[in-house]
Structure formats: structure tokens, C-alpha cells
Amino acid sequence: MNERAASRRRRGLIENAQAYLFLVPAIVFLGLFKILPALYAVYISLFRWDVVQGAFRGLDNYFDILWQNTTRSQAFWQSLSTTVTYALITVPVEMALALVVAYVLFQKLRGRGIYRTIYYLPYVTSTVAAATVFLWVFHPQYGIANQLLGLVGISGLKWFQEPDGVFQMLGNALGVAVPEWAAGPSLALVGVAIFTIWHFLGFQILIFLGGLGNIPVEYYEAARLDGASQLQLFRRITLPLLSPQIFFVFTIASIGVLRAFNEIFVLTNGGPLDTTRTVTQLLFKTFFQQGQIGLGSAMGVLLTIIILAFTLIQFRILGRRVEYG
């Protein structure tokens, strides 16, 4: 009996040792490039750190960013407002469009495969290459976008070089004076939003298609027997049963917009007149172009907190349906 227990314990020890051997590479690399850096980010943010590490400042970097230093805090709050605007003009349009396309695409239809292949294509394309192409499609002089708009009498839009707000431009065109606070997002930011929608539409269609596949057909059949109309089917069955995907896509898209860097960097580099300088762009400018690593790191920590909040909400609400084993 005793011998048996001892042998079992020995086998347990061996299994433990083996398991950790299997895990060592993952632990080392995750620790070195994910966990430690996350701690260092906080550490760096507590110092004056302009290229080289300077004096300990406590939380002063955060105070500077949030309210103490006028220039810094104005830039930060401005970038946060730009990010929120960017999200507000991107996410709803993107989701509505994806939902409609997915709904149509889900039905029995010839050539569904071809449509899907085309719709997913932008999603796999590299942001830098795609943004380079967009710069030319929306070129003020040579771009095809302005040529097409010219057919309906709109001409001379400067797109990614236009700092003026879209409502202000609309007002000017109609001869109405628009107050400054209602100028709206700059046309450049709208351009960035158009790019983002184009880039991620396929991803959202894909998720919605998966969700539509999970809705039992019997529900539709039963409702139709009861005389429900098409619109009622969509509103009473599809939308509610698709709500997990809708919510999932909403959080993923919001996080994606909060984190968007490459597209804005290539399309506008934060300009014109800082109207597309989102938090990630401001962070990059502070850290990489101005060499203020401590301040940049503090911004990174703030941004991370915002993103983590979104992630946690997402996990929480989807939690019931998530399986971690």
C-alpha cells in the first residue's frame, strides 16, 4: 500500500517536471516580452525619461498629461476626442453595412463563394499597401473618387489633406454659417474612417455569417406559419438571436479603432492640423519623434487601461458563452 502511494507520488513528480519542461519556452518568452514589459511600462512612466532615464517623477507624467501641463493635456484630450469621433463615424456604419451584406449573403444564392472571397480580400491585405493605394484613389487631383464625385457636381475635395470639418464644408457649400463647435470631423478623418470600414468589412461579415448559421431554421418556419412578415422575422428573430455576435463585433471594432495605428500613420500621419491625431498617433509622436519615453509610456498605460476595460466588458458579457475548459 505504502509502496503504491510512493510510486504514484513519484509518477506525479515526474509528470510535474515534464509539464514544466514543456512550458518553459512559452513562459520564458511570454515573461520576457509580454509580462515584464507591461511592468516596465509602468516603471518607465514614473520617470522623466527623455531618451535616457532621468529623475523619478512619481505620477507627475500622468498629471501632466491629464491636467497639469496645458499643452500636453490639451493635446491628449484632443486626441482622445478625435479617437472617439473616429470610432463614432466608423463602428456603426461598418456594423450596419456588414449586417445587411451578411444577411443577404447568407441566403441561398449563386456565387456566394465568390462574393465571400472578394469581401474578405481587404482584410488580409497589408495595411501599408492598401493605404498607399487609397492615397491615390482619393488623390485631390488624380484620384478616381473625385472624378466620380465630379459627375454629381462635387469637385475639388482634398480628402486626406483636408483639415476642415465636414459639416462646416457642407455649410459653406449651402451658404449657411456653421459655428465652430459644430464643424464636425475633418474630411481627412472621414477618409480614414472610409478606409477602416473598407478594410474590416469582410471580417465583420464573416463573424455575422457564423452567427446566422447558429439560428435554428425552425424558428423562422414557425414564425412564418404564424404569418410574420420579412421585417418582423428580421427584427424579432434574427436581431435578438444575433445579439452575441453584434456585441462581440462592437467591442472588437471599438478596440480595433482605439488601437489603429498603421492606417492613420500612412494616410495622414496625424495631420492635417492634427485632426487625425488619435491617441496612438500622439503616443507615437511623443515617444518616437520627440523622444519623450516617460511621457509616451504614461500615455501607453492610460490607453492600455481603456482597452482593457473594453476587453473585460466583452469577456464579462460573453463570459457565459466562453469556454476556457
Binding site: F22, P37, A41, R110, T125, F134, G213, G256, F315
Partner: protein, 304 residues
């Protein structure tokens, strides 16, 4: 289909559509085609413009179809920058990252799925935490770690310096371990019955042997999914290589393309030629491995 499912369970199987039809099918096709044209137009534009000659490329209004074809544009672009070097760099970086990531994730995923050990739950929670940590949190510290320590500064708690600025290693090492791949493979390995493993162990095979000759062969689709997603991420990455490299010797294609923008100036036809060959490999991979990529994205919900 035994591909695993990692995060939200809601995103599973795609069933044959049997939803009632709306509208006539002509109207639906019309709508899908319009969306398709808008989505695909930039690609068409990129490829055709690359064949135009300079004056036609900047003509107002633009021509829809090149009046004369100039495939030599590609040769011209190719000779303007060391593209062969950039491509070799990218393939090397992506290939090494994919291989390393798979080996590490297979081992860790197997341990989490099929082995019993102390601290399993705590460790798993820690992995999950790194998965949620966005890249913005680690960008600056990783940059500091990769670069050289400036002379003359002696802080109480110095950040360790790896001194790898402008190397391949700096572009590979941070991406070798991915909690995401570990989860994906763990989920796949959980589906393997424990009886099978116990039988193998009783027959005298070790864990490594069982993993190699039983688990891996039946997990090929999941491994392909991990490989494709990882290759895709590596091929398209821009921000990190942009800040961590400075010489052409280790520069990947995306940074090369960005640098070429400044050089090409208003020679947009050349820029489009460059963009098309930077995009080509990943589009080919997509067309060949669409099934795996789509499954991977659908099951895990990653967004670029």
C-alpha cells in the same frame, strides 16, 4: 471538422443557409455586386495602374483600362530598391516566427490539455492575462529593452538591455510565444480522449512520443490555421519593424514599401507596382488557404 474553438463559443459552425429569401434574387445580386465592386476596385486599380505609363497614370480623368501595357514598370521598381533583400528578410522573419511559435505553442498547449501539474490554473490565468494585454502596453518597454543602454546612467533598477536594435532577432523574438496560439492548440488537444493517452503511456510511450506520433498527425488543420494566422501577422507587421530597424539589410517589405513612398513621389504607377508585389504573396496564401484562415478568424475573432 475537428478544428478547435477558442474564445467566444458563439462563433461556431456555419450551417447551410436556409433562411427565408428576401426580395428577388436579382436585387440581391445587384446589391452584392455593387458592394463587391467597391471592395475590389482598389485592387483592380492598383494592378492596372502599375501597368500604365507615367503620363497615363496621372491623366485627368483617369483611364479605366491601360491604353498601352508596360510590364517593364515592375522591373524598374524592382531595381530602385533592394526588394529581393526585403523579401528574403520578410520570408526569413515570418518563417522563423511561424516555426518557433508552433513548436512553443504545441508544447505548452499539450501541457495545459493533457498533463496534470501544480499551479496549472494560476499559470493558465497568467497566459490569459497576456492575451488580453494590447501591444500598446509593451511597445515602448520592448523598444527600450532592445536598444543599447546609454553610457553613464546607473539607475537603481536598470531595465535589462538585449542590445538587439536593427537585427533579425529583434523582429522575431517578441513574437515567438503567443498566448493566442497556445489557447487554440490547447482547445484542439483537449478533444483527444484521455483513454488514448493513457493507453499509449501504459504501452511505454512517453508524452513526447505520444504527442509526436498521435496528437500532431490528427491536429494538422489546427496547426495549419495557427501557421497561416501567424505568417499573415508577421508579413503585414509594420509599426514594430519600422521603429526597431534602420538598415536595409534587415528591413522587411512593409517598411520597404513605406520608404519607397517618399522615393516614388508622384510616380504613382511605380508605387502601385511596388504595392502589388508586396500584396501578392499574402493574397496567394489567402486564396490557397482561405478555408483555414476563415475558420481561424471565425473561431477566434482576431482583427488584424
Amino acid at each position: 471538422m475537428n478544428t478547435p474553438q477558442v474564445l467566444p463559443r458563439v462563433l461556431t459552425r456555419q450551417v447551410r443557409p436556409r433562411v427565408p429569401a428576401i426580395g428577388s434574387s436579382l436585387f440581391k445580386h445587384l446589391m452584392l455586386i455593387i458592394v463587391g465592386v467597391v471592395v475590389a476596385y482598389p485592387f483592380y486599380f492598383m494592378v492596372t495602374s502599375a501597368f500604365k505609363e507615367f503620363f497615363e497614370a496621372t491623366a485627368v480623368p483617369p483611364t479605366f483600362f491601360p491604353t498601352s501595357w508596360h510590364p517593364e514598370n515592375y522591373a524598374e521598381v524592382w531595381s530602385k530598391q533592394p526588394w529581393a533583400r526585403f523579401f528574403a528578410n520578410t520570408f526569413f522573419i515570418a518563417g522563423t516566427s511561424v516555426l518557433g511559435e508552433i513548436v512553443i505553442a504545441v508544447l505548452a498547449g499539450y501541457a495545459f490539455a493533457q498533463m496534470n501539474f501544480r499551479g496549472k490554473n494560476v499559470l493558465f490565468a497568467l497566459f490569459l492575462a497576456t492575451y488580453m494585454m494590447p501591444g500598446e502596453a509593451t511597445l515602448i518597454p520592448n523598444f527600450v529593452m532592445m536598444s543599447k543602454a546609454p553610457p553613464g546612467v546607473n539607475p537603481l533598477f536598470p531595465i535589462p538591455r538585449l542590445n538587439l536594435y536593427d537585427t533579425y532577432a529583434a523582429q522575431i523574438l517578441p513574437f515567438l510565444a503567443s498566448a493566442f496560439s497556445v489557447f487554440l492548440l490547447r482547445q484542439q488537444f483537449l478533444a483527444i480522449p484521455r483513454e488514448l493517452r493513457d493507453a499509449a503511456l501504459i504501452d511505454g510511450a512517453g508524452h513526447l512520443r505520444f504527442l509526436w506520433s498521435v496528437v500532431l498527425p490528427i491536429s494538422v488543420p489546427a496547426l495549419v490555421t495557427v501557421a497561416i494566422l501567424s505568417f499573415y501577422a508577421s508579413w503585414n507587421s509594420f509599426q514594430w519593424p519600422f521603429i526597431i530597424t534602420s538598415s536595409e539589410a534587415v528591413r522587411p517589405v512593409q517598411v520597404g514599401l513605406y520608404a519607397f513612398q517618399a522615393e516614388a513621389g508622384s510616380h504613382y504607377h511605380l508605387l502601385m507596382a511596388a504595392a502589388s508585389f508586396v500584396v501578392a504573396p499574402i493574397v496567394l496564401l489567402y486564396l490557397v488557404g482561405q478555408r483555414y484562415l476563415v475558420q481561424g478568424v471565425a473561431r477566434t475573432g482576431i482583427r488584424g
